[in-house]
Subunit: 313 residues, 2 copies
Amino acid sequence: MKYVFGIDVGGTSVKIGFLNEQGELLDRFSVLTDTSNHGDNILFDIANAIKAFIKEKNINETDILGFGFGLPGPVHNDFVVRCPNLGWDSVFMPEAFSAAYGKSVHVKATNDATAAAVGEYWQQEMNDDMVFFTLGTGVGGGIVINHKGVDGVHGAGAELGHIRVEHKHPIACTCGLDGCLETVASIRGVVGITRRLIKENKLETTLYDSDKLNPKVIFDAAKNNDPLALEVVEEVADYMGLACATIAVTVDPKIFLIGGGISNAGSILTTAIQKHYLKYAHFGVKDARFELAKLGNDAGMYGAAYLIISDNQ
Amino acid sequence: MKYVFGIDVGGTSVKIGFLNEQGELLDRFSVLTDTSNHGDNILFDIANAIKAFIKEKNINETDILGFGFGLPGPVHNDFVVRCPNLGWDSVFMPEAFSAAYGKSVHVKATNDATAAAVGEYWQQEMNDDMVFFTLGTGVGGGIVINHKGVDGVHGAGAELGHIRVEHKHPIACTCGLDGCLETVASIRGVVGITRRLIKENKLETTLYDSDKLNPKVIFDAAKNNDPLALEVVEEVADYMGLACATIAVTVDPKIFLIGGGISNAGSILTTAIQKHYLKYAHFGVKDARFELAKLGNDAGMYGAAYLIISDNQ
């Protein structure tokens, strides 16, 4: 039996999965992310944790196929352009992790949202091209074409949060542009739309503006037929539908998979996105499917592992 | 020496190229496209012309690697969804062309704009992901990722003419939607913008509205610093820049290649597109390059041949 490690590096902690070739998660552990000193310790901490695990479990090093990484920044051909959350700049992962591990090992890396896309694709046994959204603090994405994640030449492949969807009253985005999908479909975006509608005071609602206003509260109200909350769902879904219609005439996937915290809204969201998508979609792509992601926060760890497994197939 | 045939099927004629493995075009010929009887004769006419050529040139059949096709409609995995210009519906090319040829032969097929993209990519010896636009009667496109054209699951990959770029005053598109890139960046689109500006009568110009108004006249005027014609270039380039910025955060290519009749405008157009692109582009993708296609109407024939050559590598 051969094994892989799938490593999802976040700004707070690193999730490490130990999987067999068939994709079964056999064990898991995590280390805290030490962002001191430009994040120089992170790979050493990961290597040490893995070496301790291997020793404890008495695993034969020759049975390890390699180490896949999902990283919070743009990655292209295993080269990390930058990871502001980690303090990293220009890191070639095969070299850097081999140095931390103390010997030359097989390493693959991709962006964390792309890793999540690949993880869902693999674990849900999809065979057709797929586009994944993660709607959370930000809006990220991953695109899988011909069974591979699309990194893009600058590692900016599937930076879907920065598709421009609002042209009439664009809101400034953290990226420096305005009108980006992230400004309306992230947690901040959903709450922002809700606050605007509460202020406009045209729709009945049980919601009121407070620090506690969050997507869960809003989508729960929508499920209870709160008119204002239902309008929030429609607005978010309209922007998502427009973005998906644009993506559909670009890469033409079979499935749009919706993940991230906001996807906890469930089918009320995917159903609404599909409705608005059909308004904007080219006749040739109208039967694209909209589904919910299933792996939650583990998707990136699975996808990171799959980078190694698919590389060995 | 091994050979391939690259076959670009258009609504009026079929261009057939005879190439060696190195991509050199050794000979070429064409047949008229017989669209009678739902286009049932087309593949037989092509097969007969090729068989006559092979006989005449005394080519050994075993030296032929295969037959690549570029077709005017959506194609996925060598399956033609439909080609309205040919009268075709649901044709599996390997089977259909083998039947016409009289024996089982190696056949690959893709959409004609995707074939053109692949042809430019191959002949210009590109190595990085690339997005190609053909701006002509319509607006088509092709995307090359990891050295392969992106068909999309419905064969609608890179239907870039139907990215929505005009939200304020959208014009109806032939596809049934409105605001599509094709409504403003095709021949009809460029002439339409010019007519609108002439009617508005705010800018000096040597242009006047007539049946002879066409992109060449307009872009020639722009090169002579005609204020209205320069504004046409800016408007078209603004829409193109927005579309490219969206594509850049989706597949993140190194090069945007501009082809089709309108690209005869030359660098005045690519320079303007890049200027507007920089306005809309995410910070991570600003150094994408904008270049002119080089193969003109032969791109599809080359790309069709490359489908076979890349399949044999």
